[in-house]
Amino acid sequence: MNENPLDLLPEVLLGASAVLGLLLGAWLPRRRQWLTGALAAVACVAGIAAAVAAAPGPMAAFDGAFAIDPVTATARVVILGGTLLVLVLGRIAYRADPRETEFYVLLQLAALGALLLAGAQDLLLLAAAYLLASVPSYTLAGFRKDGPGTEAALKYYVVGALLGVMMLTGITVLFAAGRATAYPALAGGLATAPTGLVAAGVVGLLAGVLFKAGGVPCHFWVPDAVQGSTPAVAAFLATLPKIGALAALYRLAAVPLSATDVPWPALIAVLATASMTLGNLAAFFQTDVRRLLAYSTISQVGYLLIPIAVTGRSDQAQPALLYYLAGYALTNLGAFAVVCALPRARALDDYRGLLRRHPALALSLVVCLLGLLGTPPTAVFLGKLQVFTAAVDGGYTWLAVVAAVNTVASLFYYLRWIQPAVAGARADADAGAGAGADAGADAARTLTVRRPAALLACAAAAASVVLGIAGGPVLDLLGGPLVR
């Protein structure tokens, strides 16, 4: 029996810092609330250190309810690192806001939920983690208390509640079929259970997991939540819960579902196709940058589902998924950091002339968007290469072809954003001297930059390139065995 809380040190630290931050925030003056943010940042950094230092080998903690293996370790590092980035972005946006502390606390709790999703080794813990990841997120989505924010929160909540119930139903059915909730025991139980029952349970479970991941057909909340909430929150919602959810799905696929007859790989392959295709098609003619990024994340979930579909058929699946997750999180947060750095620029056209005014920021935007596309030598390229390789290796060549075609399609809308950003100043600025000066001043106002966020964007872009070039040692760490 293993109930050593030190095994869960990153999670414990984050939870403790959230609770402590809540208490502290109640007593601190408004100008000092940043202390709670600093506390959260320290918790994240310490958590990353603990995750890196933890034993890599597969180990089950707390009666096998929580797994500690490469999947958990990667998810910990990526989620905590991402949370750190979002904390900084939030600090820039909510400086001396009356509710600054609340933001930090909610963010930490939601991140904690994502961490637990990634490590859950028991269906009941998975359900609890789902709720922990969701409830603070609903609040975060409506954090601004305005019209779009309320709509975002409401949509997010309603969809989340519905799909959460479906997930609980699925868990109940799987429990009935497999007579256990812990994955290793469940794996044995499901192998002999009636296929129809298991299939029904899997579909219910998928509903919840895909909701957190933001994949088709549970993606309806994504565009509204990302567009309606503040950019910092959007960056979080669009990136980090996905990591927990996809790690959880991978674990489900690799352990309890590995021995069943249910054709879940085919189902996931179809969902992956739907996710990337619909996400891309919907992103084509968006004019709001956040909505465009939202649809782009939906399509990215499609690529991320590919290695899950070939789990067990290709040794490459696990490193491919984990590496892609890390690269994607970094690149996507970089793109959102650019959005945060230009709070007044909302439409694609507002970015016109960015290269001239802020060359470094424009360059970061180009690197991040081309990175999301999978242009070498960024991290997502190596991730995509691994994913395609895993797909072909696992016998899903058609899925790799679909993903390649979709990648070309996605180029179109990323270029719709890049083109104005690198183009010269607004065309009407050259029209007349007086009008030109006005338009120039307008553009200057639209492109007011928040310097810390811009720095963060540059750092993320640079890091995504470095991670891509120095991907060798990282890849070596991602292939270890899971708890079975």
Partner: protein, 501 residues
């Protein structure tokens, strides 16, 4: 040394971007020309140290991402060395030609230097992923050049170019993955894959991989039916961009065939060589016929590129023909194909730079708008005439040596196809003569568009310095081809040996 050659331009690009805003424009131009010249010097030094015996030289092999089978492996052999030198020459010519440019000089120079790194890196790469990295980055850099410095419709043309060639690059990537998974142990290393011939005896798998590679490389070459991105991209691109696009980037496709498809998929290539022969002949004829119908000078040159690249595809298709008696002929075909890459790079680069001169004076490429230009700009007319005659394959120029070898080499194995391809030369001759006659002869008439009030000025010094050496080199290669052929021939013999497995 090779690594330094490849990375020098990119390092200079970073340096340019880091210079303060107050730096005078002249500084950017000087750095650009100086770095291009240094690259050329390095390339010549590599050539000087290259032994004609063949094989891969200047090899560097370092671990990069071993768990994914990716390594940093570069080197040169007889196929890549001439192309490396061509790249260095053309980029230097472009940097000189752009000396008078005023629009965002710093970014233009930085992009070109970055593009030079990707081109050099691609020709030096001996790892499929390294090859792919440079392949993709060259597309990205060219996209920004067309979109940022092109003419009116550049945005659309650049988008079309990027989408189309990116599709090709992903097809290529899928093919690479197929090769990687077939090899045991899995690797992306070109030398290891070539030695292993991993798809021997697996014809269906080999055919699929060849299909993916074929589409990817055919888009880049481009051959019919994948050539439709080329004319708009060329028409809208700035002169220097066009020169590099046609002179260097198109060669990546045909180089890929010789470097990857033939040696790594010999069986599949032999089975489907006829497809490439047909595609080559169709490209030759289609390119020439459509070029004949063009009224715009630059668009016409763009289509002649399709025609000239078609000869290369024909030659490498014919090289796979069975039968021992045609061995010498096939070697001639492969050598001619490589020679044609160099020759076409020089001539088409010069032609596009000349088209840029025409546009700069008259603000249009429409041949109907000009007449009798030879009277006011004799040097320009003479240079264009020389370039056109060289391009249509007149003896004494490099194009003749290349096309003669290709046609002689292909005639034995593929007589019908070669017979048809000869018609292409006739058509090219007709279209170039007609273009020369329209623009340069007859009564003087110049386009009347805004900004063209001044008379048609003759070639300026910087334009002459950029264009004349390209034509001079074409003459040198046409009169004394031996020093290049000595480098190419051992490599083409190696390729044929690998193909015969």
């Amino acid at each position: 040394m090779l690594t330094a050659l490849v990375l020098l331009p990119a390092a200079a690009a970073v340096l340019l971007l880091c210079l303060p805003r107050s730096t005078p424009r002249t500084a950017f131009r000087v750095v650009w020309v100086a770095v291009s010249a240094a690259v050329l010097a390095l390339a010549l030094a590599v050539w000087a140290g290259y032994r004609d015996a063949g094989g891969i030289q200047y090899e560097t092999h370092a671990r990069w991402i071993p768990s994914a089978g990716i390594g940093y492996h570069i080197g040169v052999d007889g196929l890549s060395l001439p192309l490396l030198a061509l790249t260095a020459v053309l980029f230097l010519a472009c940097s000189v030609h752009a000396l008078r440019g005023t629009h965002r000089v710093r970014e233009f120079a930085a992009l070109f230097l970055f593009l030079e790194t990707t081109c050099l890196g691609l020709f030096a790469a001996l790892d499929l992923i390294l090859f792919f990295v440079f392949f993709d980055l060259s597309i990205v850099a060219m996209y920004f050049i067309i979109a940022g410095w092109g003419h009116k419709g550049a945005g659309r043309a650049a988008l079309y170019f990027f989408l189309y060639t990116f599709l090709g690059s992903l097809a290529l990537l899928l093919g690479f993955i197929g090769l990687y998974l077939a090899a045991e142990p899995h690797t992306f290393d070109m030398v290891a894959l070539t030695a292993q011939n991993p798809l021997a005896g697996r014809s269906a798998y080999g055919a699929l991989v060849l299909l993916a590679l074929g589409i990817g490389l055919a888009v880049k070459t481009p051959t019919v039916p994948f050539h439709t991105w080329l004319p708009p991209a060329h028409t809208e691109a700035p002169a220097e961009g066009s020169a590099i696009l046609a002179g260097v980037l198109l060669k990546m496709g045909t180089y890929g065939f010789l470097r990857i498809a033939l040696p790594m998929l010999p069986e599949a290539w032999r089975s489907y060589a006829l497809v490439f022969v047909v595609v080559g002949v169709v490209s030759v004829l289609h390119g020439a016929l459509v070029a004949l119908a063009q009224t715009e000078f630059k668009r016409m040159i763009a289509y002649t590129s399709v025609n000239h690249m078609g000869y290369i595809v024909l030659a490498i298709g014919a090289a796979a023909a069975a039968g021992g008696s045609t061995g010498d002929a096939r070697r001639l075909a492969v050598t001619g194909a490589t020679y044609q890459m160099v020759s076409h790079g020089l001539l088409t680069g010069a032609l596009f730079l000349l088209a840029g001169v025409l546009y700069e004076r008259g603000r249009t490429y429409d041949m109907g708008a000009y007449s009798g230009v030879a009277a006011t700009a004799p040097v320009f007319a003479a240079l264009t005439g020389v370039a056109a005659f060289a391009s249509l394959g007149l003896p004494g120029f490099s194009g003749f040596i290349a096309e003669f070898q290709i046609l002689t080499g292909s005639l034995g194995p593929r007589p019908v196809a070669t017979g048809l391809a000869v018609l292409g030369i006739l058509l090219t001759a007709a279209l170039f003569l007609r273009a020369l006659q329209r623009i340069f002869l007859g009564p003087l008439r110049l386009p009347e568009a805004p900004g063209t009030a001044r008379p048609f000025a003759d070639i300026r010094a910087h334009e002459g310095v950029a264009i004349v050496p390209l034509l001079a080199l074409a003459v040198v290669l046409g009169l004394a081809p031996r020093f290049v052929l000595d480098v190419i021939e051992p490599a083409s013999r190696d390729v044929l040996e690998l193909l015969a497995r």
